[in-house]
Symmetry: C2
Subunit: 345 residues, 2 copies
DNA sequence: CGACGCGATGCTAACGTTACCATGCGGACA
DNA sequence: TGTCCGCATGGTAACGTTAGCATCGCGTCG
């Protein structure tokens, strides 16, 4: 009965451990551990022997055990408003590039623009003991702030600036950008300027600031911010189109539309094409964010460029520096913006 | 000297543990553990006492320790080709929705379309002992397959179908979709059909299959797949525009362009607008994926709809079922596609 | 009235790794 | 020749949790 002697079965019940490697290489487990983390502290011959044992066995270190003991998970948790927003994607690309170099991994979740959902996600993430946390925007529930204060880990908020970050913040002034864009529109002689913005001004600080900046520019030019000329829509091409339809119904003499995002602006542009409204002759359009489509559409879209990719890199870099024990020079980093005049205005 | 008695300092060195909660509630640690995981097994009074202790202390469970002991990390690792592709984003949205409901978290990284990079990421992720892995596409290095076989965890590949998945696969036939789209173009009477595809056919199976499907349709109609009418470009609006420029230079009689993605197709459309080419009268254009812009642009884009969001949900659901110990009915799930005829063809 | 079952709770020993301290050995120096 | 230093390696005890069994008390049934 050969079935009884299946002790050394090739069906090893679990992935191999350091102990297996140690036995195979004829050293102690701690030496294996050192080969992995501080190879220069191990003699060349020993190191080679251990490495070939690792190779032979196919050993994969268990970072969970390492995290538990070392109190360092190597994980950065990020809560973003919506993965489907291309704007967020570029920030993520910048972040992951920097994090990967540092050997850190990204735990990601999507709050759907809801601060309550964000709080729930932060709570769930903290249980995983991330080394740091990335949040989008600077508007968070008191519960979120409290948890993060108690967690005592680096936190970076990104996108909107604030003087009172939870810990660190990197972004740009959405207020100033929207004001500058609107001022440019006014300077070009437009007088009946409509506003088509993403809805959710009460919970999305980015949108709130952009709206406020737009209104400030109008008031600065003594034009008044007429609520009748402001509509809120979904952040989509369809939303932009619907927004223009509403505005034109309310004010046929409309001669410009300020949009809080390029997507919305392109939606407005498409609706103009459907209605046969000449852009910019009859109607000027401006977007924000300078996504790729802005430079490619016809006519090319006037917009404001935001350094999204750079923002992701900076945010990640700030976290990495803090994790390395270094002090970060400034807790508030303003990356600025740039108005890009093209053909729709 | 009051500084000496800082034993019970409020600067507790670490987040509280179950032991602290247990002491506060006057029970053993295992009871606390049970309140968190199997509350129905604890008497009502005891449970209430423990819960209020948790609340009072602000206890946050340590999932790292739980993972180590229970051999379940609650983490799903996903490697995607590029976060900046809106196509991927919808898949992610579907996935995270399902995963969140199941209490699972998503570890995310970006391979930049490189199988070697994917292999490195899979290796790094496996050290975190994810409960399951999600991969994009079905083309992977031998090293990746080997590691995943050894890891013995559920794996789902998504996007492209294959008869020999590593474990499970959910997707649609890019070959059939591209063939169907091209056949529709042929059926509408177009004869000089160009191809503008994303570059990287050798490593991106999705693109390879779409190219092959397109060629198959041409050959099926005895039209031949002329390489002179095929150009490869970046997956961007700019790429589409450049592609059209190249094609027209090579074949002025071009009367249709098949594109492997909506983004490229819209780029082609923009270039037509710049050149004053009437669409579809002078030139027909087709895309693939049915992103939002396809239905909104002017004229609206003929394309093929892929159930991306649904694919993310299904992939996650299959993983969840496997993690729950249930058998998954089919290892290969074909979600199909739908040709959507609009105005550009 | 004793045995038995069951619900509620607790104890002990891991999970796989690393922090901390210990040990042994060879060479430099007085 | 003895002392001391530094390098390479090892042993032990956690990190915070849960699996698996043990225990205790109470009610039920023959």
């Amino acid at each position: 009965m050969p079935a009884t002697q299946e002790q050394p079965s090739d069906e090893q019940r679990s992935p191999s451990r350091m102990e297996d490697v140690a036995r195979c290489a004829g050293v102690s487990v701690i030496t294996v551990s050192r080969v992995l983390r501080e190879p220069e502290k191990v003699a060349d011959v020993t190191r080679a022997r251990v490495l070939s044992a690792i190779e032979a066995i196919g050993y994969v270190p268990n970072l969970i055990a390492r995290s538990l003991k070392s109190r360092r998970s190597g994980i950065i948790a990020a809560v973003i408003p919506s993965v489907t927003h291309s704007i967020v994607a570029e920030v993520l690309r910048g972040m992951t590039e920097v994090l990967n170099e540092a050997g850190l991994h990204l735990l990601l979740a999507d709050s759907g623009f809801s601060p309550q959902e964000e709080e729930a996600l932060v709570a769930a993430f903290l249980a995983r003991r991330p080394d740091a946390i990335y949040l989008t925007g600077t508007t968070h529930t008191p519960g979120t702030r409290k948890m993060l204060d108690a967690a005592r880990i680096p936190v970076v908020e990104a996108g909107t600036l604030t003087d009172t970050p939870i810990d660190m913040v990197v972004g740009y002034s959405n207020f100033a950008a929207a004001r500058a864009m609107t001022e440019a529109l006014i300077a070009s002689g437009r007088r009946n300027i409509g506003y088509v913005g993403q809805s959710g001004r009460d919970v999305i600080d980015r949108v709130r600031d952009r709206h406020a900046g737009h209104c400030a520019a109008l008031r600065g030019a003594r034009m008044g911010a007429d609520e009748r000329l402001q509509v809120e829509v979904d952040l989509s091409y369809r939303g932009g189109a619907a927004g223009l339809a509403q505005l034109l119904a309310r004010e046929p003499a409309l001669d410009a539309v300020f949009c809080t995002s390029d997507i919305i602006a392109i939606g407005v542009l498409f609706e103009c094409q459907r209605r046969g409204l000449a852009v910019p002759a009859r109607l000027a359009i401006t977007g924000m964010d300078d996504q790729e489509i802005a430079s490619q559409c016809v006519p090319a879209l006037t917009t404001v460029r935001m350094p999204r990719y750079e923002m992701g890199r900076r945010a990640a870099a700030m976290l990495c520096r803090r994790l390395a024990g270094e002090k970060v020079d400034a807790a508030v980093v303003d990356l600025g913006f740039e108005v890009v005049m093209r053909q729709t205005s």
